[in-house]
């Protein structure tokens, strides 16, 4: 049963509050509030991080974009820095829920909630984002991609740890990205599938590419074979087609009453990856 609600003003205050008994971090709370009401999660003390100034910024530091843990989806979607240098994230954030949800839910929360199809998290994995994790003992960094232990299960323990930010390299002029989402409606709709691609080209050849697909596994899934296949290759339709095939072959979408049959989703996925690759390569070519 909830006994106290602390509005922390500093990160140290959060870490200190987490030491006191049954406490848990709350950011936007768009999912946590429901989980608490349904008694899927319990806590005696909630530690709200939204009024901590340091966590409210989106900044560019040494070529890295850093998104603080209190930044909402809507803030990220409207940020000029994100629109210019990580458009895949702006677009992903824009497709989350509804404006009311985007005004409340945070980008970092989207990662920690660990739903495999969480739009912002899918884009962050494609951007190669790293989470900054603080505890009483210090700071650690881990790739967002490695934070998943199962559907809805994160390595982050919000009763002991605080993710203060996620960060990733700002895209360079020879790099491009795409976010492709298939859903039944334009708003308040779960993705049937979503795909994020970030690509870097040198002399019309693929330097590297990251392809992330969801929800086709318990975490946002990298199409590693397709990524490796494209490295060093020319950008042309044949190569894109082959890579899209390889990507879809790796995915294992399940039959879902909400999202459609596994067979349908697997065949559509190939097309979505193809579109994502074409768009990202086009943008990288300027």
């Amino acid at each position: 049963m909830l006994k106290d609600y602390v509005r922390a003003q500093t990160v140290d205050e959060v870490l200190a509050a987490l030491q006191k008994g049954d406490a848990r971090v709350i950011a936007g709370g768009t999912d946590l509030i429901l989980d608490l009401q349904a008694e899927k999660v319990s806590a005696e003390i909630l530690v709200d991080i939204n009024s901590i100034d340091d966590l409210q910024n989106i900044e560019l530091v040494d070529g890295q974009i850093r998104i603080g843990a209190a930044v909402t989806h809507q803030q990220a979607a409207e940020s000029q820095l994100v629109l210019d240098s990580a458009p895949v994230l702006a677009e992903a954030c824009r497709s989350v829920g509804s404006l009311q949800i985007r005004n409340t839910g945070t980008v970092v929360g989207n990662v920690i909630n660990a739903q495999p199809a969480a739009d912002a998290a899918v884009a962050l994995v494609a951007l190669g984002a790293v989470a900054e994790i603080k505890t009483e003992n210090g700071t650690a960094y881990q790739p967002v991609e490695d934070l998943y232990t199962g559907v809805g299960k994160s390595k982050i323990d919000s009763t002991k740890q605080l993710v203060t930010a996620v960060q990733f390299p700002a895209l360079l002029p020879n790099q491009g990205s795409a976010f492709i989402r298939l859903a039944q409606r334009g708003a308040l709709a779960l993705p049937v599938l979503n795909v994020a691609v970030v690509a870097s080209l040198v002399n019309h050849k693929v330097e590297w590419v990251r392809i992330v697909m969801a929800p086709v596994a318990p975490r946002p899934l990298r199409a590693v074979e397709a990524e490796n296949m494209l490295r060093g290759r020319e950008v042309n339709e044949q190569n894109i087609l082959e890579a899209a095939k390889a990507a879809a072959a790796r995915a294992n979408p399940r039959d879902s009453a909400l999202r459609g049959s596994g067979q349908y989703r697997k065949s559509v996925l190939e097309t979505l990856v193809k579109r994502g690759l074409s768009e990202a390569f086009n943008k990288a070519q300027g």
Binding site: Y5, T30, L34, Q100, I101, N103
Partner: protein
């Protein structure tokens, strides 16, 4: 259960209430404060019936923890217009037939107001995006869009005067 004091600026006036840490903002508005204009539809952040404006932004009050509203500016439907002088949105919603059962209307108007406060010249796309989180089972949305367009015009005209 422990109690806390919540202070906020509600519809322009400071208010103070004793709350429980587990209350939502919607609980406090509809319960102790008796402001039942804000509706509870799903209670899960999915329908927008409970939309209020918090520090200038539309949020679903059913999933906002009440303690987070500490020192916040909260606007609800009760703060919009008076019986003698309706807000342009209220007038155009009536005029356009954008209200049928009315359950979604307070939330719809708060979402629309949050938009018009920031953008007095919205496109249809921007209007759709602003109210996409407000579900209406009656009107089919077309008249709601028209009403918001028309209210934007009214507000601009009033400003020019």
């Amino acid at each position: 259960m422990a109690q806390m004091i919540l202070k906020m600026i509600l519809n322009g006036k400071p208010v103070e209430r004793r709350i429980s840490p587990g209350d939502t903002l919607l609980d406090v508005l509809r319960g102790d404060l008796g402001l039942s204009g804000t509706k509870k539809g799903c209670g899960r952040g999915e329908c927008g019936a409970c939309t209020v404006i918090m520090n200038g932004k539309a949020v679903n009050s059913c999933i906002v923890p009440a303690p987070r509203a500490m020192n916040a500016r909260i606007e609800t439907i009760e703060g919009i217009g008076t019986v003698e002088k309706l807000h342009p949105l209220q007038e155009t919603f009536i005029h356009c037939g954008a209200i049928q059962c009315g359950f979604c209307t307070p939330g719809m108007i708060m979402s629309a107001k949050a938009l018009l406060d920031k953008n007095s010249n919205p496109t249809r796309e921007e209007i759709k995006e602003a109210v996409a989180g407000n579900i209406c089972r009656c009107t089919g949305y077309v008249k709601i869009e028209e009403a918001i367009m028309m209210a934007a015009e009214m507000i601009k005209r009033e400003r020019r005067k």
